[in-house]
């Protein structure tokens, strides 16, 4: 089951660039939350702070508190542990090119020392079914490389790979921006089904997408969170002038 995320006074830097400033936010469990805003506003940095991927860049720095479930992720645990509980799907599909479809899905488990064959088979099948890819690949699981699939299939493979380690939260950083409309709608359908079991945070440039999949939406601008509310309210009656300007297309 998904868990909620509480973010308090989160600040992040790249070198001297203060990319996130005093973010406070409560992301509800088992819902999809969308983050919108113009390029460079810090929304990607924000999700990367939720699984401590931000700090993999040597010049990056973070302060503040992020509590996921009952775990203070910057205090109580190592980055490796939190990344197993918080899965991530990137903008560009990034399957492991030398691995088969099967190995791609169970990479997270295998590389963490999980070896039970039968259990792995089951997890692979379940994850691929949950990511709506099973029927398309079930005959080539161990024959084809993950890189041989189409872009949309690769992205669903990456989602399956994230699901296989059984996370509580799934972060999606513009998961459909490199995909065609058909693949995009498949991913969106998927988000709809997944939020019954997982907490989903999705960064998107596509405001219709935010409106379609998310119950809550946050608007980021210049490293600050301008407004966070129900998606309906953000898109019909935002309280901040800047949000209104952005969603009506006056800038960004």
């Amino acid at each position: 089951m998904g868990v909620g995320i509480e973010v308090t006074n989160l600040n992040a830097w790249y070198g001297t660039n203060h990319t996130l400033q005093d973010i406070n936010l409560n992301i509800p469990a088992n819902h999809a939350t969308a983050l919108i805003g113009p390029s460079g506003c810090g929304k990607s940095t924000f999700v990367r702070c939720l699984n401590r991927m931000h700090e993999t860049n040597p010049i990056a720095r973070v302060t503040g508190t992020v509590v996921i479930g009952d775990l203070d992720i910057y205090k109580d645990c190592k980055p490796v542990e939190i990344r197993r509980r918080v899965g991530m799907v990137f903008q560009r599909p990034n399957p492991f090119p030398t691995m088969s479809i099967y190995d791609n899905v169970c990479a997270g488990l295998k590389l963490n020392g999980y070896t039970n064959r039968r259990a792995l088979d089951e997890i692979v099948e379940k994850s691929l079914k949950n990511s709506a890819l099973w029927d398309e690949v079930k005959d080539d699981l161990k024959k084809k490389s993950g890189a041989s699939l189409s872009g949309g299939q690769q992205q669903r493979l990456c989602i399956a790979r994230a699901l296989a380690v059984d996370p509580e939260v799934i972060l999606m950083d513009e998961p459909a921006s490199a995909l065609d409309p058909v693949s995009t709608s498949k991913i969106e359908d998927l988000i709809f089904q997944l939020k019954a079991q997982y907490t989903i945070v999705i960064v998107t440039h596509n405001m219709q997408q935010a409106a379609r999949v998310a119950e809550k939406t946050g608007f980021f601008l210049n490293g600050r969170m301008v407004e966070f509310d129900s998606t309906h309210k953000i898109f019909t009656n935002p309280s901040d002038k800047r949000t209104e300007d952005y969603i009506t297309g006056r800038f960004g």
Binding site: F90, S145, S148
Partner: protein, 306 residues
């Protein structure tokens, strides 16, 4: 065209015709340029391949007739006696190269992994990279003398071990730098994907990044291998050569390039012929070793893997 009545329609038609001619001219220029570029590329390819083919043909011409079963089974015979082979030199080369690879490949790959994955941008990494480049430029005879004074002199005797060490050290820079370059070509997205799954960094480096880059890394190792396989100079002061069989690490050992060298500078026609045969065998064995490694490592590559 003066004879034709001028009318707007005829004018328009002429204009169109002129444009078409202009277009035809341009497209012809393009075709010619394209042809020239293709021709140049083919010519360069031929120039690159020609020396190799020429050497190979010449070796076959000079050496093939002296090849016999005995060449691969017998050890050299004294001057004046016909026949004799290089069996001990072939075995010796295999042993020296095996030892060299055992030393050079792990050190080189580890160094490359450090440069690309851990040391990026640090002073230590820059120093290591610079050292590797300098080491790559050190003449092989100098390498031989260095190993001679470091191992042979303290031990008091020439040895297969010191020869292997000399070859191994010569392999390190090539293996190290190609490993680094190949790892840097692995997209960062692949590293991030592994980290985001909660895979510890060391494991992600070994199981994901290095594995993704492995075809290129293997090519680098093979390049280094092929290069030192023909080295003579570093062996003169280390492995020394041996007219008989030896399988001991602490004794002088024969090697194909050494044997070729000794035979080639000798005054005997019979030995000259054997030297040609030896050169041919050396090249063929190198090609076979490289192809074998390629074949073995390319098995199990998946459909569509890049």
């Amino acid at each position: 065209m003066g004879g034709y009545p001028r009318s707007p329609r005829v004018d328009a038609l002429r204009k169109t015709l002129l444009k078409l001619q202009e277009h035809n001219f341009r497209s012809r220029v393009r075709t010619v340029t394209d042809g020239a570029a293709t021709g140049l590329a083919i010519l360069s390819t031929v120039l690159v391949v020609a020396p190799l083919v020429a050497i190979f043909i010449y070796l076959i011409y000079k050496g093939a007739s002296s090849l016999s079963w005995a060449f691969f089974t017998d050890i050299p015979k004294p001057v004046g006696e016909a026949g004799g082979g290089m069996a001990n030199a072939i075995a010796g080369s295999a042993m020296l190269l095996g030892l060299g690879s055992l030393i050079g490949v792990p050190i080189g790959i580890s160094g490359g992994i450090f440069l690309a994955e851990y040391g990026r941008g640090t002073k230590l990494a820059n120093a290591v990279r610079f050292t590797a480049d300098v080491l790559n430029g050190v003449p092989s005879i100098v390498m031989g003398i260095a190993v001679y004074s470091l191992i042979v002199v303290p031990q008091g005797h020439f040895s297969a071990f010191s020869g292997g060490v000399a070859l191994g050290i010569m392999m390190v820079p090539t293996v190290c730098r190609t490993t680094e370059e190949m790892l840097l070509m692995v997209p960062n997205a692949v590293r991030e994907a592994a980290l985001a799954l909660g895979v510890p960094n060391w494991r992600s480096v070994l199981a994901i990044t290095v594995k993704t880059a492995s075809p290129g890394i293997i090519t680098g190792c093979m390049l280094a291998f092929a290069r030192v396989a023909g080295e003579t100079a570093p062996l003169i002061f280390t492995a020394f050569g041996n007219v008989g069989w030896s399988s001991r690490l602490d004794e002088p050992i024969a090697a194909l390039p050494l044997q070729i060298y000794v035979y080639a500078i000798s005054p005997y026609d019979e030995w000259h012929r054997l030297a040609w045969a030896g050169a041919l065998v050396l090249i063929v064995l190198i090609v076979m070793a490289v192809s074998l490694v390629r074949y073995v490592t390319s098995r199990g590559v998946l459909k569509g893997a890049s």
